[in-house]
Subunit: 634 residues, 2 copies
């Protein structure tokens, strides 16, 4: 019997055991990991690039792998045999860098464009204390001495105390002759001493804002005293290997061991990012005392290890909407063990904390006269219409296309992603790549531009079919059928052609159709029409530069005056940051969750009709899009 | 090289590795365990009886070991060689059964003799709920549904919730169609849901009251709904092997690993007792939701793993006096993980929670007119004088003699202990054994009786020396010098003579002297004399039947009208039970701790003089003991 060899895959921390001679592609499949392989393992498409990090493997040379990549240790998984225990990185799932849509200046300059408040008044604060030495006449306990000083310095009486603090107290108060920092939490039920440290070096008190998306996870590390964003990090959610959308993850989680697997995968994703962001900022994880998390209801349940099955069974009941504040140690997160973790509250099973946090980051509640529409086009699309006095929300299953998921050349909005694109009159494709350099793929905004340009230039018809006649050499055909060549492999990072297939186009059309028809139905439900909406706030993982014009051209957004539209990026992360920085925002986001009414689209009459009508470019009723109609007129 | 064999000692859970052929006595010494061996290992005294529970050993027969014991697997450690991996029980340290001084009737009948209140209103309560099923029109989260029902049924709004409850919530609310129990805690800062279970079988909600003594640990398992004491358990504190008194344990704990060892030993002691009490009562540990602990300040620090060193370094500062309420999971205790653990508060480093709890269990605070004196003669002696309006306390180092520690035939007040004793005019010794049967040793009350009888019958002089002339065959002599024969080995459980040596007598005299002189100095400090004290409440591990007359005869208690004295037994355990049963008592015990003033005896003028005077039987100034003087008159 052959001895099986262990192959470990990064960044998933998944391993399989396979006999020597197995190809890496087979090993990847056995591990259930979502590595693309367009040609099905023939060594021709070059999709399945991986990097061998440790161990010995044998690769056949392949024309589909550029020399430059080969020199860096990249191989094609389908052409490589396992000879030894291996560690292999799947670069398609490497950590991606988020482009900081948000920094403090941005928030400060836009403070009138927030429903939340912009202030640096977090619930965690540091006080520096100098304790008088104990004596025979003043021999109260160490804890009372600290409490007395806190009361005198900060006016806080009766602060509760964590067990971990008690354990270090005797040493901490004596180390520097009574000079200590105390880290205090302003909890809902009073103050708590989270930490006591001897005052030696200068220390920061930091916090974490984190958006847990179905596809990507992104976080900021923030100095809680200045409000400065010290570093940012993001990556794919490692849960991806268990399903691309929330429904498939809920199904996957039905068995307790698999629920635990999902919990552990997202926890590991977040821990890696914390580690990365801490190192980048030169901050110790022990100095992070607060985490503000926002995610949809399913992601929040999975993060907490709560069985999500009732979220998808009628009547769609989550276990919890307002998660109690937990300690990092309870969640096994690599922060200060006593750090408090707060989740943005959910409205219901399909409108989660990412949306309530997102609403904080838009001015929707600020203006009593204007009714606004908020659209978050993530893997799940959520929409909220309303103003300061009322809010009505709905959700639709949009799919991960705009976050780059399920697309041949899609990717999140990170380094190497094409974020804007135009097709010249000469047929040349011009684009801009995040971070410069050769493109690796297209993020959402690039895909929206591409679809609009193909439509306007007559390269696709209104059903999304490619026009062979107008495309010339840009029209190619592979195992996946007809495709449009965006850029030749020689000019691309991975050495293989960037293309969009008809299947990809159909995927994008379904996604935009789901969102547009949800908008229509939601407005009908509240008795309004598009032109009565004063502002459209668009959020989601498109990338920094979603072209509003392009989005209207493909029928994702309605054809209205362009200045009504505002693309805001990752509002969930921005909202989580606002909550991190201010206890008032935490109260406000709970208020938002409580006042929002949820409408179930599936039981709304006319939804299927609207959806079917939206499965064209821009729409089956071209009259709804007069400016696009004019452009398309022959 | 010889292979070392593992020898494990029960109940300590300590193991050593020794070469084959080593005697068990050597192995015990290597393990640092406190096994008595009067003859120093010659096989003659029969002290070092142990029981081989598993494994193979070779024993030489010995006249010092009765056949009956040999048949039960007992051996003499000094005469037994290790041949194999062994498990050995040290019977001197077997779990001992506490005689229940306390049951509910006792408390109820004596409710006028408590400073605390007698009521069954614990901070943990169960409510039975029937949740309406969720529907499309009523799809709030599971948690909100539970909260709504709690609010409706119990009028409790906004109950906080534990993470562990969230994790089981979805399943629990669906298991019996919404019929659940909720276990709620009335915390200082509001209510918390500690547990949710589907309502199936009848369940009890239980609590634990525990006295953590330096020498012995005792606990009650209590039904929190009826107040019934379901079972009791007690044993030696396993920390004994690291030192007999608090000072030696504080010294031992200076290194972090040894502090952790002490923490783990007492935790293991308590866990064993919980296990034993739960099995006896047929209760699952998961049904125990509250633990009320009382111990001296050092024991409390060690239980929590807090470094105790500053307790014994001037100015004697503990880390904490009022320990915050902790969860069982934080302490690793085998109760429901969310059970709350409350410690009785300390007055200071040398007057701990055992005393404040003890004061609850006496009527000292009840009467505004009478000034009472409370004496707890444990390994540390603590004294409190006062009434409802004021309390002054002091502490002295008494030693474990009255708990049977450090005495050749001493033992705690458990099965087999002689608890009362008299010497007839014929010189015959008559005694009563707890639980009946042959005696194993003497507990505190037996020792006090013995000392008084020896004195009154002229067998010892006022310095504690044995009078060879009057004793006849009762006078024996062994390696430890002269001794009085209480009972012959043939009539004793362990088959060896029960004796009291002159050294033991000197030990008892020092102990009673420390307590009496502390009383004198404390009263002088507050400007009172003995006859101004209305009542004397005496606590401690003497056993159920401390003879007040005997205690006066040996000069432990002052010579006053006998009806002023009340022996109350383990008041620490009784007070812990009162706290367990009532939130009002928890408030009152904190009040007691705050209002008590501590007096440091060592800096009191005249203390050494008083102590030296008390080192005689009954006292160097016989005029202080007129009734004893009359008896001793020739």
């Amino acid at each position: 019997m052959t001895k099986n060899l262990k192959v470990e895959f990064l960044p998933f921390e998944t391993a399989v055991h396979v006999p020597a001679g197995t190809t890496l592609l087979e090993a990847v499949k056995k591990a259930g990991l979502p590595l693309k392989a367009g040609c099905g393992g023939k060594g021709t498409c070059g999709d399945c690039v991986v990097q061998v990090r440790a161990g010995r493997a044998r690769s056949r040379p392949s024309a589909a792998l550029p020399d430059e990549l080969a020199r860096q240790g990249y191989v094609l998984a389908c052409e490589t045999e396992v000879l030894d225990r291996l560690t292999v990185e799947l670069p398609q799932f490497q950590e991606i860098s988020i482009k900081s849509l948000l920094d403090l200046r941005f928030l400060e300059e836009n403070k009138d464009n927030l429903s939340g408040v912009f202030e640096v008044r977090p619930l965690v604060a540091r006080v520096d204390l100098a304790l008088p030495p104990p004596s025979v006449d003043d021999h109260v306990s160490d804890l009372e001495r600290v409490r007395r000083a806190i009361s005198k310095t900060a006016g806080i009486k009766e602060a509760a105390v964590e067990y971990a603090v008690l354990k270090k107290l005797a040493a901490a108060v004596r180390d520097q002759d009574g000079r200590i920092h105390a880290v205090l939490l302003d909890g809902r039920r009073g103050w708590t001493i989270l930490d006591i440290e001897p005052r030696r070096a200068q220390r920061r008190i930091c916090g974490l804002a984190c958006d847990i998306g179905t596809t990507t996870v992104a976080l900021y590390l923030v100095d809680l005293e200045t409000g400065e964003i010290l570093s940012a990090a993001s990556s794919y959610n490692q849960q991806l290997k268990c399903g691309e959308d929330v429904i498939s993850r809920i199904d996957y989680a039905r068995m307790p061991a698999r629920l635990e697997e999902l919990r552990s995968l997202v926890s590991s994703t977040v821990s890696h990012l914390i580690d990365q962001a801490s190192r980048a900022a030169g901050v110790s994880a022990a100095d992070i005392y607060y985490g503000s998390f926002a995610g949809n209801t399913t992601m929040t349940h999975l993060f907490l290890g709560l069985p999500p099955r009732y979220i998808r069974e009628e009547p769609y009941v989550p276990t919890v909407r307002e998660v109690p504040r937990l300690a990092a140690r309870e969640l096994g997160l690599s922060l200060n063990p006593e750090a408090r973790i707060q989740f943005a509250p959910a409205v219901g099973s399909y409108v989660g904390g990412d949306i309530t946090a997102g609403l904080l980051a838009t001015p929707i509640l600020r203006d009593p006269d204007t009714v606004s529409l908020f659209i978050d086009a993530g893997t799940n699309g959520e929409l909220v219409v309303g103003n300061r006095d009322w809010l009505v929300a709905c959700a639709c299953s949009a799919g991960p296309a705009f976050e780059g998921g399920g697309m041949k050349c899609g990717m999140p909005a990170g380094d190497g992603a094409i974020e804007t694109l135009e097709i010249g009159p000469d047929g040349a494709v011009r684009y801009q790549v995040i971070g410069g350099g050769r493109p690796r793929g297209l993020c959402g905004s690039g895909l929206v531009d591409l679809l609009a340009e193909l439509l306007i230039h007559g390269h696709i018809d209104k059903s999304g079919k490619l026009h062979e006649s107008t495309l010339g050499s840009r029209m190619i055909r592979d195992d996946n059928g007809p495709a449009f060549l965006i850029e030749e492999g020689a000019n691309c990072h991975w050495g293989k052609d960037l293309v969009i297939t008809e299947r990809d186009i159909a995927n994008l059309v379904r996604t935009k159709g789901a969102i547009f028809s949800a908008c229509s139905v939601l407005l009908k439900n509240v008795g309004l029409t598009f032109d009565q909406i004063g502002a459209f706030y668009i959020a989601g993982g498109f990338g920094q530069h979603l072209g509003i014009e392009s989005a209207i051209r493909i029928g994702l957004l309605p054809d209205l005056p362009r200045d009504k539209f505002h693309y805001l990026g990752n509002t969930s992360l921005c909202g989580a940051t606002l909550i991190l920085l201010s206890g008032r925002n935490e109260e406000m986001v709970n208020e938002i969750a409580r006042k929002t009414t949820y409408v179930e689209l599936n039981t709304e009459p006319g939804y299927m009709h609207e959806y079917t009508g939206a499965l064209f470019l821009p729409h089956t009723d071209i009259g709804l899009f007069p400016t696009v109609k004019k452009l398309l007129a022959p």
